[in-house]
Amino acid sequence: MSSNSASARYSARHRRSAIWMSLSVAAAAIGLIGLFMILVVLLWKGVGGLSVAVFTENTPPPGSAGGLLNAIIGSLIMTVIGVAVGTPLGMLAGTYLAEYGKYSRLAFVVRFINDILLSAPSIVIGLFIYEVVVAPMGHFSAIAGALALAVLVVPVVVRTTEDMLNLVPNTLREAGAALGMPRSMVIQRIGYRAVRAGLITGVLLAIARVSGETAPLLFTALNNQFFSTNLLAPMSSLPAVIFQFALSPYEDWQQLAWTGALIVTLAVLALSIAARALTATAQQK
């Protein structure tokens, strides 16, 4: 009798477990299917508009055909400048956190603040650059957009640089010091080289992060209907064009928005996958 009720309890516990676990499987199914649906729709709608003209012609006025050339070039210019400004700063700060100030109070505070900047709302960064660059200059400019992106690059690079340098075995540093190398040389010639793949990964991730950013560009670089490489003038960017064209009532603009969205997504995915592949091969060595 007692063994009967015990086995009843046992199977009740198993039923309970089975119910919760099937809910968990359902959550995974819903989540994955839902997210892949977004990608499929994006591919479906975006591929339809892909053509050579997208990469060779500028954004059109409503009602006529055109491409995204000025937006693509604008995005590339601002991303390159943003990364070129943000990466050295981030790498140096990350080096301080990992090598010099590891346990200092300053490093503790910087680490904490950096983690917050890492997930701070990007639109607030846009407002910050508007206040310190756009307002004093009196007009929107590509350089302001690039600086906004640089502010977003810094925390990503700080984080990866610190994490990567922490992976360098201390015996390597000691070996360098034993040869009489000063500390800065140990860091530059041994530390950086040992984790080069990781550092590049960090930069790739930072590029992936900023290349889809829209909010900080809206009121720094604004947008430009025409082809422009003037850093002191407003500049077009893919995300800003997607935003403008998607909310417009014109069909060809909406199609270009989908195509632009597809290009941005593919670029971001390619960068993230490259970053992953790089760390994977580096770890195998």
Binding site: G31, L32, S122, I123, V132, V151, T214
Partner: protein, 331 residues
């Protein structure tokens, strides 16, 4: 002694002198590099200080004009230059709350699936896919929400929901009005979709910190999978999970583009979740470039300051909790 030794070194020849100069150069370079890295670290603090300082400076006119009333009124009238932040604050809080209520169970369900149930061969591919999805730019979710999700809700889900709740008190006012497609609920759902991969990957990471021995002991005394998750994994990782959820909340609060597309940008607090509304970030994104007049611009910057303060607090709590987990893991 030194007086005798010095000339001897001096006489040691050019080789020793070159050596001395090289060491001098080394030590100069060394100090320079150390100070450079320290300056860069301070620059990170400077960025934060600059963000806070510039937002405060920019929002002074608005706070001077409206005082504390800025937080408690929902009038937003560019013509008469009367501005209040209540509607955007309400929109931000409500959309984030609904989004988290959906995303947390879903994300944790996925994490449990990945750590306990998934066949090992699929674990890495699915985990990687989720992490990649977490990195997709928010504007993509926005354009999908506008063209695919909102029309779907408008045609199928919303009329159905309005219909079935029409006679239920409370719920009928929560789901009242014409099915616009865009609105608070749509924005919340898009936010939830965006936050799910984030919650899932953070939860999976912290679930994996549970020592296998603890789980094996529980299985050894006859626990079912659910009992292991509920009594071992979740209590052990509680702090980390809450930290991860707060990080997701920080992301939802500050999310701009995905919300701007589908919220409708109406500065009005409506009892119905189907009605258009606005959030802090959507208001700024929609109106900033068109804002004429110092007071209008300043009010939008004040909104930005409020948003930054809210997310700062949320993110700080998240980091402190995750740090406690790291200390625990280090023990």
């Amino acid at each position: 002694m030194t007086e005798i030794a010095m000339p001897q070194i001096g006489r040691a020849g050019p080789k020793a002198q070159a050596r001395g100069r090289a060491i001098q150069r080394f030590s100069w370079n060394d100090n320079f590099f150390r100070l450079l890295t320290q300056a860069a670290a301070l620059a990170v603090l400077l960025i934060l200080g600059g963000v806070i300082g510039s937002l405060i400076k920019g929002s002074i006119p608005a706070f001077q004009a409206f005082g504390f009333g800025f937080f408690t009124t929902q009038i937003w009238n560019p013509v008469t230059e009367k501005f209040g932040a209540l509607a955007p604050i309400y929109g931000t809080v409500v959309t984030s709350a609904i989004a988290m209520a959906i995303a947390v169970p879903l994300g944790m369900g996925i994490a449990v699936f990945l750590t306990e149930l998934c066949p090992p061969a699929l674990r890495r591919p699915i985990g990687t896919a989720i992490e990649l999805l977490a990195g997709i730019p928010s504007i993509i979710y926005g354009i999908w929400g506008l063209f695919v999700f909102a029309p779907f809700l408008q045609t199928y889900l919303q009329p159905f929901v309005i219909e079935i709740f029409s006679n239920v008190p409370v719920l009928n006012s929560l789901f009242a009005g014409p099915p616009y497609g865009i609105g608070i609920l749509t924005a919340s759902l898009i936010l939830a979709i965006m936050v799910v991969p984030f919650v899932a990957s953070v939860s999976r990471d912290v679930f994996e910190t549970v020592p296998p021995m603890l789980k094996e002991s529980a299985y050894g005394v006859g626990c079912t999978t659910w009992e292991v998750v509920w009594n071992i994994v979740i209590p052990y990782t509680r702090v980390g999970v809450i930290g991860g959820v707060m990080l997701g909340l920080g992301r939802a609060l500050g999310e701009t583009m995905a919300v701007t597309f589908v919220i409708g940008n109406a500065h009005k607090i409506s009892g119905s979740l189907l009605a258009p509304g606005t959030t802090i970030s959507a208001s700024i994104a929609n109106e900033f470039t068109e804002a004429v007049g110092d007071l209008y611009t300043s009010s939008l910057i004040a909104l930005g300051l409020i948003l930054f303060m809210i997310t700062f607090i949320v993110l700080a709590i998240a980091r402190i909790m995750l740090m406690r987990l790291e200390l625990q893991a280090g023990r």
